[in-house]
């Protein structure tokens, strides 16, 4: 598949990708390397993985990272209850210790967690490792073996190699320093907030029922809102929520009803101080300045 074709199929699945991103994905898929996506919250990093799963009609396996995530939650865990029962049962039948040990540390007593599951699929799935910068450095080290060799080593069993190589998408907010070792194994892309045209086409693609005029107003408003000094700048998801809210409220022109506009801003401004910093006057100015 050429990168332009990939860009087009992303578009057909309602994801508007920049040239940069389409090329990075194209390369990552062809070289079978993971792709690391960085960017602010709400620019559509996670959506890339979901869209890829749609395009290739395959399973999306998601691993949400958090502080303290360990191999038991991410890779595998032994089924301790079954192991206990098995030991009791075998002792009653008088099997020897070595046999018991071999049995209870075999594949049938293993519970697969996302990473192990991802390399055990017949059809290559999309593996989304979300917000990798939330996990600690130790976990990053775990990932290295999986991402470069696509294999997992379990002390009791040995090394399990991938049946099919998953398409790996890692996302990060570009905040914590990820180790160079992890970075160099990945194809990298930084996703900025979309420019006006891109955002407009995203809105048109996602909410076709919204008229062109209102769509232009919405995008202009959100674009200029991002230039304001806010703690949490509105992402694409917020913009889409807001558009849906406006169309639900039956508003066709955001300059027409200042009160309604102001109250609908709860979709865009997610902290109290941000809400204070955009009073009605400012929102009116933003709305009228661009219409």
């Amino acid at each position: 598949m050429q990168w332009q074709v990939l860009k087009k199929s992303l578009f057909e699945h309602k994801y508007i990708a920049t040239k940069d991103l389409a090329m990075s994905l194209h390369i990552a898929l062809n070289l079978e390397r993971p792709i690391l996506l960085e960017g602010d919250a709400g620019v559509g990093k996670t959506q890339v993985a979901k869209t890829l799963a749609d395009i290739f009609d395959t399973e999306l396996i998601r691993l949400q990272c958090y502080e303290g995530l360990d191999s038991a939650a991410a890779i595998y865990e032994w089924n301790y209850q079954r192991q206990l029962l098995a030991i009791r049962a075998s002792v009653d039948t008088g099997s020897n210790l070595r046999d018991i040990e071999e049995r209870i540390f075999s594949r049938s007593y293993l519970m697969e967690r996302p990473l192990l599951r991802a390399i055990q699929q017949q059809k290559p799935p999309v593996l989304l490792i979300d917000e990798i910068d939330r996990a600690d450095e130790e976990f990053e080290a775990f990932l290295l073996e999986i991402l470069s060799e696509f294999q997992i080593t379990i002390p009791e069993i040995g090394t399990i190699s991938a049946i099919s190589k998953p398409m790996v998408v890692l996302t990060a907010n570009g905040t914590r320093t990820l180790s160079d070792a992890l970075r160099r194994r990945c194809i990298y892309n930084f996703i900025p907030y979309p420019d006006r045209e891109t955002e407009l086409s995203i809105l048109e693609r996602q909410c076709p029922e919204i008229g062109v005029e209102l769509a232009t107003q919405i995008v202009s408003f959100v674009q200029s809102l991002r230039k304001e000094d806010l703690e949490k700048k509105p992402g694409i998801a917020e913009m889409l929520d807001w558009a849906a809210a406006l169309s639900g409220l039956g508003i066709n022109d955001i300059t027409s009803d200042p009160e309604a506009l102001q109250s609908s801003l709860v979709c865009l401004l997610k902290t109290q101080s941000d809400q204070y910093s955009i009073p009605t006057l400012v929102s009116q100015k933003l709305a009228s300045g661009n219409s």
């Binding site: 990168w3 920049t18 040239k19 940069d20 090329m23 990075s24 194209h26 390369i27 990552a28 062809n30 070289l31 390397r33 690391l36 960085e38 919250a41 502080e67 303290g68 032994w78 301790y80 192991q83 206990l84 030991i87 009791r88 075998s90 002792v91 210790l97 018991i100 040990e101 209870i104 910068d133 450095e137 907010n173 570009g174 905040t175 914590r176 320093t177 180790s179 160079d180 970075r183 160099r184 194994r185 990945c186 194809i187 990298y188 892309n189 930084f190 900025p192 907030y193 420019d195 703690e231």
Partner: protein, 394 residues
């Protein structure tokens, strides 16, 4: 066809290796893996289309936001006859977020274009609020010439500076060690270690008689140092940098930033063992020296870009500055309150605080005091050593 800068023909492999070296010379980490990937991917794209090649190399050769933003310039300087060879590291500039992404294609063919050149960070020339480097307020312990209690401004000889740096590194090591002591297996841990229980219970016929326990290791403190390198701080800057270097050299959970009118992350540069390369990467200092300070704006930028990391972590932010701010005090207050809200501890080390008769009366300091957990002098090595006790109390 674009005019490249090369005088003679050679193989694609050599060119790509050359490009890899070029990127490395400019501070972007590259390895043979990138070269190998590039050679593989060149089969996937139309290599006569310069923009496709640019996008493809960008995906492979960049590995963080800074290199991603700088890539187009580096690409041009290597492949096109643009008259540019080497670039300095630039400060993180939020207004430059989109970088050269929108650079349009036809421009690539202009042979002698000067685009992108001469973009240097010009610090503003406001001298307001700057301290005189030869102030009246003399240090307390200057009478006895003792390296641990002499004001660091006195260190001008290289060997003295080395000794100071070494001492600072030792102190920093001590602080870091205390924070990063980790325990994993614990007899008094709250969680049963099922894996070990299973192993042990086999020998007792499935009866889990021994119950080994485990506990999550203590989270080490995340230390972030912000060093003011404006004109007024110049005499201290080198020693503070050594202090920062000691702090972060072995631990991934620490970060160092320099600021004057802009903020720049120098963690990677300070971790660099190659002194010459590290010095090159720190070239922002030269650009900032003698200029004003915008503490508020710098802290704002810091919150914008690193808030996500601080949130939910045990974090100590150490600001090393004399508090002479040429920016607005309101901005500083807002930035500090925002930082404080994220739950981190703020330590402000002020070299002037160790001076006799110094009163924290400058507006920026007065405004910041309520937000600061620890306000301490740092003009002598002894005061840096005392810091350890103070940090313990936080």
């Amino acid at each position: 066809m674009a005019i490249t800068r090369f005088l003679f023909r050679t193989s694609i492999q050599e060119r790509i290796v050359g490009f890899s070296h070029h990127m490395r010379d400019n501070g972007v980490t590259t390895t043979p893996l990138e070269v190998h990937s590039t050679l593989r991917l060149l089969r996937l794209i139309d290599i006569t289309n310069i923009e496709e090649v640019r996008l493809a190399l960008k995906s492979v050769f960049t590995n963080n936001k800074e290199s991603f933003v700088r890539f187009n310039e580096l690409f041009d300087s290597y492949w096109l006859n643009d008259g540019k060879q080497r670039h300095d590291h630039k400060a993180i500039d939020p207004s430059n977020k989109k970088g050269n992404l929108s650079q349009n294609f036809p421009n690539l063919f202009e042979v002698n274009s000067s685009k992108g050149t001469g973009k240097t960070d010009v610090p503003d020339d406001e001298k307001d609020g700057e301290t005189e480097s030869s102030g009246e307020g003399k240090l307390i312990a200057a009478k006895i010439f003792n390296k641990t209690t002499t004001d660091m401004r006195e260190f001008v000889l290289p060997e003295d500076e080395n000794k100071a740096a070494e001492a600072a590194r030792r102190i920093a090591n001590a602080i870091r060690y205390r924070w990063s002591r980790r325990r994993k297996a614990s007899k008094k841990g709250g969680i049963l270690d099922m894996r070990r229980i299973m192993r042990k219970s086999i020998s007792t016929g499935g009866e889990p008689l021994k119950l080994p326990r485990k506990r999550r290791p203590d989270l080490p403190m995340h230390l972030i140092g912000l060093v003011d390198v404006s004109g007024s701080m110049q005499p201290y800057a080198r020693v503070f940098l050594s202090f920062m270097k000691g702090l972060i050299s072995n631990d991934m959970r620490t970060d160092a930033f320099l600021f004057h009118t802009k903020l720049m992350c120098v963690s990677d540069a300070l971790r660099d063992n190659n002194t010459l390369r590290a010095a090159n990467r720190l070239s922002i200092m030269a650009k900032g020296f003698g200029g004003g300070t915008k503490i508020g704006a710098s802290l704002h930028q810091f919150s914008d870009q690193f808030m996500g990391r601080i949130f939910g972590h045990k974090t100590v932010v150490i600001i090393m500055s004399d508090g002479y701010d040429s920016g607005s005090a309101n901005v500083l207050e807002k930035a500090l309150s925002r930082l404080k809200k994220s739950g981190c501890k703020i330590v402000w080390l002020n070299p002037l605080l160790g001076w006799k008769n110094y009163e924290p009366v400058s507006q920026s300091i007065k405004i910041s005091l309520p937000y600061i957990d620890c306000f301490a002098p740092c003009n002598t090595l002894q005061s840096l050593a005392d810091l350890e006790n103070k940090l313990e109390l936080l």
